[in-house]
């Protein structure tokens, strides 16, 4: 599928957001997906041309990140978290049920049925930073919290039937192509949809309110004199097997 001139212009526009244009590549590939439904050879060529890098280099990037798809995905891309916590909490069973229900394997698009108004693709995904809502399912990268196999099936059935489905912490679901356009940095005006936070996010705050627990008043005083104030001491205090940059002992 060739890249239309409006898309091409928008790809150029993305590259211009950054001090060095190659920085635009990740959002540019999101835009290619939004326009073409997947990363295409033509999209790779257009990015390479705009950024003045080789197509092999663009391919290297496009195949590194898992959100870039080299096969067409559905109108709604369903991701079931099967990282340990969600898997244990039911993600594995949800994923199995959806595979069976949609008759697809991982990262595949279900065959459309007569009368369907949308297609569904299914993928098992890694931790999506919503563990307090486990088991979690993402549809076009919107949260669907606290799922069960039954709720998951009903979500995909509703989507296929063209019924509106809302994210538990966001707007009515948009299509995958529309979502990819937001990831490319083009605002869709839906930021004000949905709640501030889901219920689990607020449990702690509610308990604090009930107990009148607050942060100290501004005049509270303490000192951090025991916190390292030299580089070497900081290196020793920090977790040495993480965040290597701070912890490598420099020879200087």
């Amino acid at each position: 599928m060739s890249i239309e001139s409006q898309t091409y212009d928008e790809l150029v526009e993305i590259s211009q957001r950054y001090p060095e244009k190659r920085s635009g590549l990740l959002p540019m590939l999101h835009l290619v997906q939004s326009a073409s439904g997947q990363v295409t050879a033509e999209g790779i060529k257009a990015c390479a041309e705009i950024l003045e890098i080789s197509e092999a280099e663009v391919s290297g990037v496009a195949t590194f990140y898992t959100m870039y798809k080299r096969r067409p995905v559905g109108d709604y891309h369903v991701g079931v978290c099967t990282n340990t916590l969600c898997a244990v909490m039911g993600g594995d069973l949800i994923f199995e049920r959806l595979k069976d229900h949609l008759d697809v394997g991982n990262d595949e698009t279900a065959d459309g049925r007569p009368g369907d108004s949308a297609t569904i693709s299914l993928e098992h995904i890694e931790c999506n930073a919503a563990c307090d809502y486990a088991p979690v399912m993402m549809v076009n990268w919107e949260f669907l919290d606290n799922q069960t196999p039954e709720s998951a099936v009903s979500v995909v059935d509703d989507l296929r039937a063209g019924k509106p489905v809302h994210s538990t912490r966001g707007p009515k679901l948009v299509t995958w192509k529309e979502a990819e356009r937001v990831l490319a940095g083009f605002n869709d005006g839906l930021a004000d949809e949905g709640p501030s936070a889901g219920p689990a996010s607020l449990v702690g705050l509610k308990i604090a309110r009930e107990n009148s627990w607050t942060a100290p008043a501004s005049n509270a005083a303490g000192t951090a004199t025991a916190v390292a104030d030299t580089k070497q001491a900081a290196v020793e205090q920090a977790d040495t097997s993480r965040a290597e940059s701070e912890t490598l002992a420099e020879e200087s």
């Binding site: 050879a41 790779i44 390479a48 890098i53 080789s54 197509e55 092999a56 280099e57 663009v58 391919s59 290297g60 195949t63 590194f64 898992t66 040495t240 490598l248 002992a249 020879e251 200087s252």
Partner: protein
């Protein structure tokens, strides 16, 4: 450098208990080599930026030089030494040894261990280091591990194949492509355990230097289509040699078996090509074993008029008789591919046996002045220059403040220079400028700046550089002029003047391996061996004495194009020719009927490796030995002497020197040498001319020709990979030729009403050719097209560079 400076730049470290002082910034892995400790490694390569990817070279650093150790083993390929550092390698540290064993085990779990059928087996760093630093048994296999597999090998390029399951993703190949060649058409793709080397869909790894990736691959993942499954390293005999496809003098290694070259590899010569060669130097070696290789002398039968096989003595005799009959009306065109020894034999044969100065090695267009300006330039400015004697060297390119190119596209015409310029630009930001009609990809890869110049206007462009503050040449700058400037009146003179006025140093870069040697040995009408000017009576006397002959003629000689003109006009009766295509010499670019008739009539002696157009015109044909079949010397563009031994023994052909000696002796005017060794000894004995050098009178520079309305000026040169006969026989290499296009500026394209991608007709003095048109950085009013693309020979079908041409589209 003062002793104190040296001292402060040295760092003392203790490796395995042994103190060693090395320059600051030395990597630990190389400091260890200084004391004879080989730390195993895969991703590390001394000419590539450190990657630290394979983790094979882990060592223990109990003291980083600041009294503190590293808590975990460090990659010695990325860690610079520090004063007082203590390093314990696998030789003394159980921690380092265990770390290395562990990495080796990981590398092998997914490796197919197919060494018995792998081309790399026997010369494989993985195999070797697994033996020296690995374990005998595989815990992975014992524990029922399942290896990663990939479907069949894939072509990264026509001549480069990748077996993915053997790859250990050390990234040497991708780093080479990106850093050294500037052709990042291979890249890491996918991720994690699936990570592999790949190309973009439908976009191959088309690089003039792709073969180097095969050589530096530390496993058998990359193989060449030509060598794959052909041989085993332990069956091969290796001979050091010198590349014969350009004037760079690159060191190569020729691997052969039972009289047949199996492959050519880059040699390691830090002064010249470091560890890299072009694909042409690597893969173009099979042409000499094609069916058209000449295997015995032939003479034209007086009865039948046909060539027939002859014995060597008969052929010598027939040749000698023919020359005697021609008196001195003989021309000699030895060509540019000779060794210095053979070129010396031709030069001496012309002067002693034929007694003429009608000799010219230049097998290329020489311009309206028949090459006179260039010959004068070579005699005054180029000959006798050498490294150590003031000549520009590769090292000078690397440290130059700026390099100006004129009439030279290094990536196409001198690949090793291109690599060195790229290295300089990346290391120091050295600026490169090109006086050319086209901003090539090669120029872009050295971050170069085009000084757009219409072909023919190079003299004026060179003159203008003197006052160009952006270029700002100084005594640390270098001007490289190519042989293509010969056709532009006043251009070489302008280059000489520019060098004089700015203090920049000047060097001449020809295209062929034998060109410079031919200059040094006097294969020019105006120049005798050792830089002796023909016009200088003292020099002639000096040479006659050295040769033991009565006199050396001072009569004006004819240049290459003049020789052909004289033949055409019947002013010469005989021609001795060494594999030169007359179409390449004539200013018009084509062989006309009259010349063909004249050549048929003239007495022609041809010294050739393979039969050619000249074979059919010749009266005597001598099969001569290619570079692989004789010892010899190439003198590269620097003036550096690059000697090489005989690699193969093919008694069916002889070096030119032996052939010419045979004819000369039969003629009764011996050239005194019969072998390359004798010839070299005599070159040394005759020595360089110590008298006054020929001067260089700047000729009047003619105005650049102006094309008529509706016409464009043709810019054109031979690309590295083209229809050259030396590349015959390797279809994989030929498949990697850049597809020919007609290249114009966006403005020119619009003014012609064309669209990029259109097929257009390029018409010039010799005819017309259809090519797709493309847009590039091209001077206005100019169209560029490759001179010698296979099947689209602009030089033969359209015309030589500088021709007025038209570009017409519309008929798809």
């Amino acid at each position: 450098m003062t002793a104190e400076l040296v001292k402060t730049n040295q760092v003392t470290v203790t490796i395995d208990g042994i103190q060693v002082s090395v320059p600051a910034d030395t990597l630990v892995i190389r400091a260890a080599e200084e004391i004879g400790v080989q730390i195993p490694r895969f991703c590390d390569h001394p000419l590539l930026a450190p990657a630290g990817a394979c983790r094979q070279c882990l060592v223990d650093i109990p003291d980083a030089g600041n009294g503190r150790g590293f808590p975990k083993p460090q990659a010695s390929c990325t860690l610079p030494v520090a004063e007082g550092m203590v390093v314990n390698t696998q030789a003394t540290s159980p921690v380092a040894d265990k770390a290395q064993q562990g990495v080796m085990e990981f590398l092998l779990i997914n490796h197919p261990l197919d060494c018995p059928v792998c081309d790399k087996g026997g010369e494989c760093p993985l195999q070797n280091q697994a033996m020296s630093n690995g374990q005998g048994e595989s815990r992975f296999a014992e524990s029922g591990g399942v290896k990663r597999v990939f479907p069949k090998p894939i072509n990264l390029a026509p001549q480069v194949l990748l077996d993915r399951e053997r790859c250990i993703v050390c990234q040497r190949c991708t780093r080479f492509a990106d850093e050294i060649a500037g052709d990042p058409f291979i890249a890491l793709v996918e991720r994690g355990a699936q990570q592999q080397i790949g190309i973009a869909e439908g976009v191959e790894f088309l690089s003039y230097f792709s073969g180097n990736t095969i050589q530096i691959c530390p496993v058998g993942a990359l193989t060449s289509a030509a060598y794959r499954f052909r041989s085993r390293p332990f069956d091969l005999v290796s001979s050091a040699s010198i590349a014969d496809h350009d004037a760079c003098g690159s060191a190569i290694r020729v691997d052969h078996r039972r009289g047949k070259v199996m492959r050519r590899m880059a040699g390691d010569d830090r002064d010249v090509n470091e560890e890299w060669i072009t694909d042409k130097d690597r893969f173009a070696f099979v042409s000499t074993r094609l069916d058209d290789r000449l295997t015995h002398p032939q003479v034209r039968d007086t009865e039948t008029g046909e060539l027939r096989a002859a014995s060597w003595p008969e052929a010598f005799a027939v040749a000698a008789r023919g020359l005697a009959a021609a008196k001195k009306k003989v021309g000699l065109l030895p060509g540019g591919r000779l060794t210095a020894e053979d070129a010396y034999a031709w030069s001496k044969f012309a002067r002693v046996t034929v007694r003429t100065n009608n000799i010219d090695f230049r097998a290329r267009p020489l311009g309206a002045d028949h090459g006179a300006e260039e010959a004068a330039f070579l005699a005054s400015t180029v000959v006798l220059g050498a490294p150590g004697a003031g000549a520009v060297t590769y090292a000078d390119l690397e440290t130059a403040s700026a390099v100006l190119l004129a009439g030279l596209e290094p990536e196409d015409e001198a690949g090793t220079i291109f690599l060195r310029l790229r290295k300089a630009n990346r290391a120091t930001g050295a600026r490169v400028f090109a006086i050319s009609a086209v901003g090539t990809r090669g120029l872009a890869k050295v971050d170069g700046t085009l000084l757009p110049t219409v072909p023919g206007a190079e003299a004026a462009a060179l003159a203008a550089v003197a006052s160009n503050s952006d270029v700002a040449l100084d005594s640390h700058s270098v001007i490289l002029v190519g042989e293509r400037l010969a056709v532009v009146p006043g251009a070489l003179a302008a280059a000489v003047e520019l060098a004089r006025s700015t203090g920049a140093r000047l060097a001449w870069v020809p295209r062929r391996a034998g060109d410079r040697g031919a200059v040094e040995t006097g294969c020019l009408p105006t120049l005798l061996p050792g830089g002796r000017p023909v016009a200088d009576a003292m020099a002639r006397v000096d040479l006659a004495e050295a040769w033991g002959v009565d006199a050396v003629t001072g009569k004006d000689g004819l240049s290459g194009s003049q020789i052909l003109d004289a033949l055409r006009d019947g002013d010469l009766n005989a021609l001795v020719v060494g594999g030169v295509d007359p179409a390449d010499v004539l200013p018009s670019g084509g062989v006309d009927k009259k010349l063909r008739k004249a050549l048929k009539k003239a007495f022609v002696i041809s010294l050739e490796v393979r039969s050619s157009e000249f074979t059919e015109l010749a009266d005597v044909v001598f099969p001569v030995a290619p570079a692989s079949d004789k010892a010899g010397t190439f003198i590269n563009w620097e003036g550096r002497v690059r000697s090489f031994p005989k690699v193969l023994d093919h008694p069916s052909s002889l070096p030119d020197v032996r052939v010419l000696a045979g004819i000369a002796e039969e003629r009764g005017r011996s050239i005194g040498v019969r072998t390359p060794e004798q010839a070299w000894a005599e070159i040394v004995k005759v020595g360089p001319w110590s008298g006054e050098r020929a001067g260089f009178e700047a000729p009047a520079s003619a105005a650049a020709p102006q094309p008529a309305a509706g016409q464009l000026v043709l810019a054109s040169w031979k690309q590295l990979l083209d229809d050259g006969r030396g590349q015959d026989g390797d279809e994989h290499l030929r498949a990697s030729v850049r597809p020919p296009v007609a290249l114009v500026s966006a403005g020119t394209l619009t003014s012609l009403g064309l669209t990029a991608g259109d097929e257009v007709e390029l018409a010039g003095p010799l005819g017309r050719l259809r090519l797709p048109v493309a847009v590039g950085e091209v001077a206005e009013g100019v169209v560029w097209a490759p001179a010698s693309a296979p099947g689209a020979s602009v030089r033969h079908q359209v015309g030589p560079a500088g021709s007025a041409v038209t570009l017409v589209g519309g008929t798809k």
